[in-house]
């Protein structure tokens, strides 16, 4: 059987280092006289950037995922949140995050656990999932019990997603006004003067980073696929940590060039590629080896709506195909322009669309299936995230109706107690066999 050449990604180590220093920078921010803030990976991170070059963030979802990757620490976090009286059915990332505060421990990207959870100077969040605002409200409450008063600002973005027309002006305005107030709030709580130039830079960086990531995902339409989902997790994450930073843009530029080169030379992520799948949401982070198991059947996962659509920004072309969203005509020059631009840019985020409409998620997945030449879709019925598993049963209907083979599996992205690895692998094997695949010799 045909084997494609493979190669280790050249910028792999750079990705690792960027991630490593991200968590360290947040930890050590105060030593350098800097400011640190905490908030979600989806928050408007370019806005606090106007406070200066020495502003460092800790985004909650990637931090929750990092915790989930290190199972011993996760177990302790869960014990701590349950002992504090929180139900174990809540968002698993959120529980991981609170656990870290309750234990007063901080985990670095390599799993090293540090004593004392570094409290943020302020919280900067946005809200579309029921747990977004609540997550940080409780984080703040927990910090207060430890004697630290953390001011919080949270922007409501839950204004809907019309599938067939642009969002009305009053909805854009609602978000814009909150951001505008937010700038004044940032000045007030930090005592710093706000620099609109830095804001404009950060907004432009974010727009470029999220376009670049969409371009990179588009390159995965090639056969063989130059990237697989498991590797993509280490790459997309930059966008969840620092989408507004110049380092992120620079890294994605380099990555894009490298992936283009791989496509040109036919370098594959999986040497035995013969069957292409995608997934929909976050994986069970403690069990990424399922992807390696899939490779034994010659199956490559090209990514997911989650990796493509959380960081990448997309549009539908008139012919219905999915493509990178167009760059706005020029870099913003003023605060007003920058804030409006980032709102208009962000309201199209694919991962927001499916919060509202099951049809929106099904349509996006079907576009990926067609354009990325996907043979089957794995749907993660994720007990740890109600936000991304909302409407999932409807998506299953939609895909099945469109004739796409679907493998639904139940799990939890952040709580390993709710993932049955042997059971899932056994069902997955049966699924692949029903697709005519056989295990390749190892």
């Amino acid at each position: 059987m045909k084997k494609f050449p493979t190669e280790q990604l050249k910028c792999w180590n750079e990705a690792k280092n960027l991630r490593k220093s991200y968590y360290e920078n947040y930890l050590n921010a105060h030593e350098k006289g800097g400011v640190r803030w905490a908030g979600g990976a989806w928050s408007f991170s370019s806005i606090p950037a106007g406070l200066g070059e020495d502003v460092y963030s800790l985004t909650g979802e990637p931090y929750g995922a990092t915790i989930a990757f290190f199972k011993d620490f996760t177990a302790k976090c869960h014990e701590a949140t349950e002992a504090a009286g929180f139900p174990r059915t809540l968002c698993a990332y959120m529980r991981n995050y609170w656990g870290s505060i309750l234990l007063d421990k901080y985990i670095l990207a390599d799993g090293k656990v540090i004593d004392e959870h570094p409290a943020p100077d302020f919280i900067w969040q946005d809200h579309i999932c029921c747990s977004h605002g609540k997550w940080y409200q409780v984080a703040r409450w927990l910090e207060e019990k430890k004697g630290k008063k953390v001011p919080m600002y949270c922007v409501d973005v839950s204004v809907g997603y019309p599938m067939d027309k642009p969002l009305e002006e009053y909805k854009i305005n609602y978000i814009f006004q909150q951001l505008n107030d937010g700038v004044e709030w940032l000045e007030k709580v930090t005592g710093r003067e706000y620099d609109d130039k830095l804001l404009c830079e950060a907004v432009w960086n974010e727009i470029n980073a999220t376009r670049l990531w969409a371009d990179i995902c588009t390159l995965n339409q090639a056969v063989p696929a130059p990237l697989d989902e498991k590797s993509m997790y280490s790459l997309y994450v930059m966008g969840t940590l620092m989408k507004h930073r110049p380092e992120c843009v620079a890294f994605y530029e380099k990555l894009k060039a490298e992936v283009e080169d791989r496509v040109r030379r036919g370098i594959a992520a999986v040497a035995n590629e013969r069957f292409r799948v995608i997934t929909d949401t976050q994986p069970p982070w403690g069990f990424l080896r399922i992807f390696r198991e899939m490779e034994k059947y010659g199956v490559v996962s090209l990514g997911s709506l989650y990796t493509y659509g959380l960081i990448g920004m997309w549009k539908y072309r008139p012919d219905g195909t999915w493509a990178t969203k167009d760059l706005p005509p020029r870099k913003p020059q003023t605060r007003e322009e920058a804030l409006r631009m980032i709102v208009e840019w962000t309201v199209d985020r694919p991962e927001w669309a499916h919060f509202y409409l099951p049809e929106a998620k099904t349509k996006m997945i079907l576009s990926i299936v067609k354009q990325w030449k996907v043979d089957a879709v794995l749907l993660h019925y994720n007990r740890g995230c109600e936000g991304l598993s909302v409407h999932i049963a409807e998506n299953r209907h939609g895909l099945v109706e469109a004739g796409v083979p679907v493998f639904p599996f139940e799990g939890n992205m952040g709580d390993e107690r709710e993932f049955d690895l042997p059971g899932t692998l056994a069902r997955l094997t049966t699924f692949f066999e029903s697709m005519g695949l056989k295990k390749l010799r190892e």
Binding site: D156, P358, S389
Partner: protein, 379 residues
């Protein structure tokens, strides 16, 4: 006579579907089902439409498995189950006022699988603590009103809106007056009766309901309940229509003197303050109402409100009903516990699903009641 009034509330709940069908037959008007109390019923009444709340039946909702992942709360699954079984086949339309993801899912599944003539989702702001929420919601309501007008084929005028506001305000006001009787040392109504009054108001024509509540108000001062109120309890949580549970607990020597539920006080605690800008006034009411925890951040205003209620109604302890998988309410349990504890009101959380395992709960509730009365100290 008081007993007959309460019996009527019960009958309305037990025969809600028959009531709705007869109402429709009688009036030849439309009925809309709504899922969450963030739907501004004022506008529906203004449009001469009867709003009825869609709730579950507490039967295991196996029929929803293909449409809703089982890790979503029982209210959303059980409500959809009723629709799939055709229990609400008289509805002309459905409307949802944005609250949680769970009910949004029910709305969408309903829209996709249960034929209705009209389906509308109002993007009620989540951030009710921002000053921009009311102007934004006003625009959302204008859009909703416009869509209703297109559907019913006539304009909803200012005087229609005034009528809608009056209808809703009057009903809420009357029920609040009844709640006052729960403050007495020997409350004149039980928690179950209060729940049945509010629940039935979400199922029948408010004008009809208000007449009965008015009558109840006249007669209640003379009522003497032939029971020892026992321990004064508060009940807190999201949607709760579990009447059997209420009855069982009250039979153990306790009375629910106040609740913090959207099927209870949260539904009726504040009114629309009429103003020239009718939609603005309605928007203000929904932004300022006692919030669902899903909208209550960064400050815990609902927790503060629960503390006030506990004090005003002299609750000795509180049962917190956590609808399994409900994140917004579940998240608030520890802060709620801390706040109530600080005023000497201990809480006991119980996890509810479609059906309630009363056998297990009984022992736990009894033990909780004993801690409140100090009985356990004797042994």
């Amino acid at each position: 006579m008081v007993e007959e009034i309460f019996q009527k509330f019960r009958d309305w709940i037990d025969n809600r579907h028959e009531y709705a069908k007869e109402w429709k037959e009688k009036t030849n008007r439309k009925i809309i089902g709504y899922f969450c109390t963030y739907v501004p019923e004022e506008i529906l009444y203004a449009a001469d439409i009867l709003p009825v709340r869609i709730l579950g039946s507490h039967e295991p909702p196996t029929v929803t498995e293909p449409y809703i992942f089982a890790m979503f709360c029982h209210l959303c699954r059980d409500s959809l189950a009723q629709g799939l079984k055709g229990k609400f086949d008289y509805l002309d339309g459905i409307v949802e006022g944005q609250s949680c993801l769970h009910l949004r899912q029910t709305f969408n599944a309903w829209r996709l699988h249960i034929p209705v003539d009209y389906a509308y989702y109002i993007y009620v702001p989540h951030s009710v603590q921002t000053p921009h929420a009311t102007p934004y919601l006003t625009q959302e309501l204008a859009k909703f009103k416009h869509s209703l007008e297109e559907w019913i084929g006539r304009k909803v005028t200012d005087s229609d809106l005034d009528r809608g506001i009056r209808t809703m305000n009057r009903n809420r006001e009357l029920m609040r007056k009844i709640y006052e009787y729960r403050k007495l040392d020997n409350p004149k109504i039980t928690g179950l009766e209060a729940m049945e009054m509010v629940l039935s108001s979400q199922m029948v024509d408010k004008e009809e309901h208000s007449k009965l509540v008015e009558q109840l108000l006249r007669e209640l001062p003379n009522r003497k309940l032939n029971r020892n109120p026992g321990t004064r309890l508060m009940i807190i949580g999201s949607e709760d229509d579990d009447r059997i549970f209420m009855q069982n607990v009250e039979n153990l020597g306790a009375t629910f003197v106040i609740d913090e539920h959207c099927t209870g006080s949260r539904y009726l605690w504040n009114n629309v303050s009429p103003s020239e800008d009718r939609l603005g006034a309605i928007a203000e009411r929904y932004v300022d109402r006692v919030p669902c925890p899903s909208k209550d951040w960064p400050e815990f205003t609902r927790v503060k409100h629960a503390v006030n209620l506990a004090q005003e109604f002299k609750a000795q302890g509180a049962l917190v009903i956590q609808n399994k998988f409900c994140d917004p309410h579940g998240i608030e349990i520890p802060p709620l516990k801390e706040a109530l504890k600080s005023i000497g009101v201990p809480i006991y959380p119980l996890e509810f699903d479609v059906t309630v395992p009363w056998g297990q709960f009984r022992t736990r509730v009894e033990a909780f009641l004993e801690t409140l009365t100090g009985l356990e100290d004797l042994f």
